[in-house]
Structure formats: structure tokens, C-alpha cells
């Protein structure tokens, strides 16, 4: 292990030096007692810039959005006790979607740990189930190596958030600073190359397939394997579908793309999933929102090849035939190489079948409506931004419509909380996205319920002049809750109506931004055009949309793909 020797530093100085060594550009955080010395050191330098959020949940989401939209690690810094507990939702969000993050948390001094000190909580205990790893630093001598370990673990293998808990006395103690250039852990060695024998079996299956499907998830985006995926899909000529987390990995406007699959995926993608004879799953995990009931999915016999960096994702919900554990870009390269001189089966009949499913036009909606249809707003958003925006979303109907109607042609443009489903994610995540991509167009698609969960961050947006465009689909309901209540709870809309909503226009103005109310379909496009032409300004567009609109298609929770509900069925 090479070590750079640079003299004696305090723990707080070491923290900042480590961040500098890692090339960290932004830290999203909120100061407090336990981290005062770290903040003091941040103050004295200008390499690592700090972004002051208004609530620690925002810090974690912003670091997360920063990471998702770049290829870098997101870093958050919060104080002990409530600082940590506020950040928990953000850490869990990142964990469920495998986002590389390092979260530095202050802790009470080591001698006070366990004594119920002011602002003490068991950070390592609280965050243990929602992190890839976490560590409490009890000795300043371990600080630099722990920081290195945190960045190493967060970014390698299946990525994820790592929490480093730093007691206040560790930040004041001092020692020689050595930052290791690399680190090896005997207990942690993620696989890279796929098993040669399994690769051969996969090739065989792909070449024999009559009804093949390629199904890819967030793993392709996270491992930056989009170009390898595109090459493979095009060479094979097979249909491809992406999960909610995988959108953009394969271009949505390509004719081989069947759209998103899953609970609110397209008819063609879901039926192709159910009826294929060979399924190539890449960086996806067959979760409940994708295949619904595994027993129903397993009714149709098919051969499954599953490529994933995480062995525990393989055969977790669905038994697979050819597991390939490895780094996705490497495995896809190997597959392409092995397939180079072979010709897959003729699959015209399969494409014909798929085209019949496509002809259902499962995303159709009433275009003549006098009330604004949310789908229409998303379509216009796509047109006005030419499909080039970074789009973050909150959670609910608006999220699904964004996923269905915004055609992402590039990876890392679609930023949403897929695993944990965190309302309140959209706005702070958009801040991180805008920080990572200054000058880029960033839209936050949200609803009147979600946006209020992290609304305070409008203040952060003002401080850092973040020209995010907020697309608020305001139907005065927690729309997805309302939809489930309509379908499955006899139209009893228990607590899903948003009474006493604020005047979002005036509220946005109070934060120093521009707010616009849009009530007529004819005003949607002009309002969007005007908003996106204001390059330096945050604009909050409050679209008053149809209260009763539902997201279709829908596969009810726990049901099989064949039980898909289309709008025309009702």
C-alpha cells in the first residue's frame, strides 16, 4: 500500500483532506454541534464546496441525485442525533437503488457514547440495515484509512451508501496523515469477469431463441454499460425492455425498444416478458413491481440468463438457468465477442406478435379533454426539452407518467426513487443533478403531495441559484393512493384528498422564485416554453390536472402479468 506522508493533522483536517484526495467537488450538508470542527476546516479551504440544505433528508437526496446524474460519489455531511435520523430516509433511498454515497455523520465524543448524551443516537445501529457498510471511527489514527475504505466500498461491486460515524473528540485529536492510494480487503472482492462456461451456455441459449427478450435494469446504468448493451441488442436484433430504474440505458425512441415493463409498464413489454422463450436479464432483479407474482411468471416455461454483479440478486425471486456474476460491461463485451460470428434464429414471427401487442396503443389517453391531462404535460415536456433534460421525479402517478411519456435516450437522465419509493426525493435530487451538471436543463416532475415533503429546499435553490423547472401535476389528490382506493377499496378515498393546499405560485414567490399557474390545456406548451427559456431562474409550474386520471396499464400488486388492466377495460 502506497502512502503519502504529509505531517500531523487534526481529525477534522483529515476529513477534509480525504475529501480533497478523493476529488470531491461538493458536500451536501447541515452543520451542528458534533461536526463543528469539520465545518471549521471546510471554511478554511475552497477545494471542497459545501451546499447548505434546509433539512438533512435534502442533503442525502441531493448527494444521491448528484451521484446518479454523474458517475461520481455523492457526499453528505450531517451532525449527530437528529441530523442522522433526518438523513435516514435519504440513505435508505440510496441503498435501495444502489447509489454510491459516502455519508459523514458527527457523533458525540467517544467518552459520552452510550450515556444518552445530548444529540446522541446509535448511528451505526440505526443505519445498519440501510447501508452497504458503516463504520464508527474511535481513533483518529484509523480515520484516513476508514475514509478510503468508505469510498472504495461505496463505488465498487454493487454500489451503495456507506456511513462513517465520527465522534467529536476524534475530529480534535491529531495524528500523522497518510492517505492510502489503494486499499484491499480480504473479505471483500467483487467479481469482474463472468464465468466462461456460463457465458458459453448463455450464447447457446441466445442463438437458439425463437422468442427472445432482453430485460435490463438499474445495474446497466450504474455500471455505465449502456454502449455495450446497445451494441449487443442491435447485433442480435432482439426486443429490449427496461425497468423503471433502467430507463435510458437503451434509447427509448429505438424501434427495438418495447418501453418500460412492470406494474405500469407497456402492454407489449409485459406480454413479451410473459411469453418469451429466452430471457436475458441484465442488472435487474425481478422485483415485485416488475414481474408481480413469481408463481404466475413461472407458469410459462422459459430459459433465463441473469447477469448481475450481486450473487444474492440471482435466483432470489425467480429461479434462473444461467447465472452470470460479474461486472456488466465486461460480461456484455464478452457476450458480444462470443456472438460475433454467429447468427441468431429468424424471429420475424415474434416481432409480428410484438407489433400486434404494440398496436393496442396502451398509453393512449383522452387528447380532447378540456381539463389538463397529466400525460399531455409530460408529452409536451418531452417535446419542449427535446428529450434532453435531466428529469427527476417524486413518487406516485406523476412518476409513472414521466417514465412512460418522457422518452429517455441516454442513461443517467432519469432520476427517481424506484426501490424505496420516497416522496420528497424529486426536488433535493434535482439540486444535486443541477450541481453535477451546471448549465444542463433539469426538470423535477412532482405532484402537490410529494413536493410538500421537501419543499423547504426551494430556499437552497435560491441560495445556489439553481434554475430547476418544477413540473407540479396538481390534482389535489395523492393520486396513486386515490387510484388504488378507486380500484381496490370501493372508491373510499380515505385521507388521500389534499385539502387546504397552499397557493403554490405565491409560495414559490415567497422563496424568491417564479411561480406560474396553468389551468388550460392550451396554455401547457407556452408555459413550458417560457419556463425553459428562463435559463437562470427556477420556475414552479403549477398544472391543475384532471383529478380522476389513472395510470394505465396497471398490473395490480401481487397479481400476474396476464392480469394487466388497460384503460379500455374500464
Amino acid at each position: 500500500m502506497d502512502r503519502v506522508k504529509t505531517g500531523t493533522l487534526t481529525g477534522a483536517q483529515i476529513v477534509v483532506r480525504c475529501l480533497q484526495e478523493e476529488g470531491v467537488e461538493y458536500v451536501f450538508g447541515y452543520p451542528g454541534g458534533a461536526v463543528l470542527f469539520i465545518y471549521d476546516e471546510l471554511f478554511k479551504q475552497d477545494k471542497v464546496k459545501h451546499v447548505l440544505v434546509r433539512h438533512e433528508q435534502g442533503a442525502a437526496h441531493a448527494a444521491d441525485g448528484y451521484s446518479r446524474s454523474s458517475q461520481k460519489v455523492g457526499v453528505a455531511l450531517v451532525t449527530s442525533g437528529p441530523g442522522v435520523t433526518n438523513a435516514v430516509t435519504g440513505i435508505a433511498t440510496a441503498y435501495m437503488d444502489s447509489i454510491p454515497m459516502v455519508v459523514l455523520t458527527g457523533q458525540v465524543p467517544t467518552h459520552a457514547i452510550g450515556l444518552d448524551a445530548f444529540q446522541e443516537c446509535d448511528t451505526v445501529g440505526i443505519t445498519r440495515p440501510i447501508v452497504k457498510h458503516n463504520m464508527l471511527v474511535k481513533d483518529v489514527k484509523d480515520l484516513a484509512s476508514t475514509m478510503k475504505k468508505a469510498f472504495h466500498i461505496a463505488t465498487t461491486g454493487r454500489p451503495g451508501p456507506v456511513v462513517v460515524d465520527i465522534p467529536k473528540d476524534v475530529t480534535t485529536a491529531s495524528c500523522e496523515f497518510h492517505y492510502p492510494e489503494s486499499i484491499t480487503l480480504r473479505s471483500y472482492n467483487p467479481a469482474r469477469k463472468g464465468h466462461a462456461g456460463q457465458l458459453k451456455k448463455a450464447v447457446q441459449l441466445l442463438l437458439e431463441a425463437k422468442r427472445p427478450l432482453i430485460y435490463t435494469g438499474g445495474g446497466v446504468v450504474l455500471s455505465n454499460a449502456s454502449s455495450q448493451l446497445r451494441a449487443l441488442v442491435r447485433n442480435l436484433g432482439f426486443p429490449c425492455t427496461n425497468t423503471l430504474m433502467g430507463l435510458g440505458a437503451y434509447p427509448a425512441t429505438d424501434k427495438q425498444f418495447l418501453g418500460m415493463l412492470g406494474m405500469h409498464g407497456t402492454y407489449e413489454a409485459n406480454l413479451a416478458m410473459q411469453n418469451c422463450d429466452v430471457l436475458l436479464a441484465v442488472g435487474a432483479r425481478f422485483d415485485d413491481r416488475v414481474i408481480g407474482d413469481p408463481a404466475n411468471f413461472a407458469q410459462n416455461p422459459r430459459k433465463i440468463i441473469h447477469i448481475d454483479i450481486d450473487p444474492s440478486s440471482i435466483s432470489k425471486r425467480v429461479k434462473v438457468d444461467v447465472p452470470i456474476v460479474g461486472n456488466i460491461p465486461d460480461v456484455l463485451d464478452d457476450l458480444s465477442r462470443l456472438l460475433k460470428d454467429s447468427k441468431p434464429q429468424e424471429i420475424k414471427a415474434w416481432w409480428k406478435q410484438i407489433d400486434e401487442w404494440r398496436a393496442k396503443d396502451c398509453l393512449k389517453y383522452d387528447r380532447k379533454s378540456k381539463i389538463i391531462k397529466p400525460q399531455f404535460v409530460l408529452e409536451k415536456l418531452y417535446e419542449v426539452t427535446k428529450g434532453e433534460a435531466f428529469v427527476t421525479s417524486d413518487v406516485g402517478q406523476h412518476q409513472m407518467w414521466a417514465a412512460q411519456f418522457y422518452k429517455f435516450n441516454e442513461p443517467r437522465r432519469w432520476i427517481n426513487s424506484g426501490g424505496l419509493g420516497t416522496m420528497g426525493f424529486g426536488l433535493p435530487a434535482a439540486m444535486g443533478v443541477q450541481m453535477a451538471n451546471p448549465g444542463a436543463t433539469v426538470a423535477c416532475v412532482t405532484g402537490e403531495s410529494s413536493i410538500q415533503m421537501c419543499l423547504q429546499e426551494l430556499s437552497t435553490c435560491k441560495q445556489y441559484r439553481l434554475p430547476i423547472k418544477i413540473i407540479n401535476l396538481n390534482n389535489k389528490y395523492m393520486g396513486m393512493v386515490r387510484q388504488w382506493q378507486q380500484f381496490f377499496h370501493g372508491n373510499r378515498y380515505s385521507e388521500s384528498y389534499m385539502d387546504a393546499l397552499p397557493d403554490f405560485v405565491r409560495l414559490t414567490e415567497a422563496y424568491g422564485h417564479r411561480g406560474v399557474l396553468v389551468e388550460n390545456p392550451a396554455d401547457v406548451e407556452p408555459a413550458l416554453k417560457d419556463a425553459f427559456s428562463r435559463k437562470g431562474e427556477l420556475v414552479f409550474l403549477d398544472f391543475i390536472t384532471d383529478q380522476t386520471e389513472n395510470v394505465y396499464p396497471m398490473i395490480p400488486g401481487g397479481k400476474g402479468i396476464t392480469e394487466i388492466i388497460l384503460s379500455e377495460d374500464l
Binding site: 445501529g125 450473487p311 444474492s312
Partner: protein
Amino acid sequence: MRHIISILVENEAGALSRIAGLFSARGYNIESLTVAPTEDASMSRMTIVTSGSDDVVEQITKQLNKLIEVVKVVDLSEAEHIERELMLIKVKAGDKGRDDMKRMADIFRGRIIDVSDNTYTIELTGDGAKLDAFIKSLDQGDIIETVRTGASGIGRGNRVLRV
């Protein structure tokens, strides 16, 4: 089905709760868990007795392997192995029945490691079934206190778990 899983883990603070937490978070059973450092003090060896279908046990080993501090995992029950458990049992041994109790301990190859006027404390080693059998063979009214370590296991012959 019952499985006995051996784990080599970095001897770090929190490693035990990480493993125990994994079992409770994912709804896996723990019948018993034993842990102590190995000859290499930087590592601990843990034996967990669990039960579940083959699919569940496969997930358990995969999820254990995923923990950063876990160095190696093996399902001992996949092949020939030996398991032993230690029990300390305190029993009534007054004038009446004192000899019988001694005899019973001898039959099970137990050792009396503490004696008082009216009690024996017996140390007994074996697999779980043997310890159960000993408890069953006593008059339940004679048992004052039992403490069992849970199973420790090791592979037979050349089957080894080390770094």
C-alpha cells in the same frame, strides 16, 4: 430443513450485530449462534444453526457473503461434518438420589464439575440430540438450571474453512 452454517468474520465491533440483524431483517431463523475468536485474533468463527428450504439457505449464504466483514461462509451440513454443543446443568443431588444422579452423568459421559450438599453441576458435551436425551432421562423436578452453548461445527477430514 436444518442447516449448520460456519462463518469466518473480521473480528470487528458490530460484526455480530450485522449478522444477527441480517437474519432478523430478512426473516431467517436462528436456532443457535455461537461465536469466538479463532487462533488468528483478527478473525472470529461463528456457527449458526438455521432452518429453511434450499432456496432460503442459498439466499442466507449469499446475503452473509455480501456483508463486508464476512470473509468466508460454508454450509457445513452440505457434507460430512461434526457438531458439538456444551451444556452445564445444575441438578438436585440430596441424600436421596445423589448416587443415581452420579450414575446418570456417567452413562452420558458427563462430568460433575461442581458439588454442594444438595446439588451437582454436570458438564456434558455432544450433539444437540444427546443433550436433549440427557435432559429427558432426568426427573424434570430434579433440574434446577440449564445452560447450553449452541452448536459449534467443523467439517470432517480434509474439509476446512480458513483463509
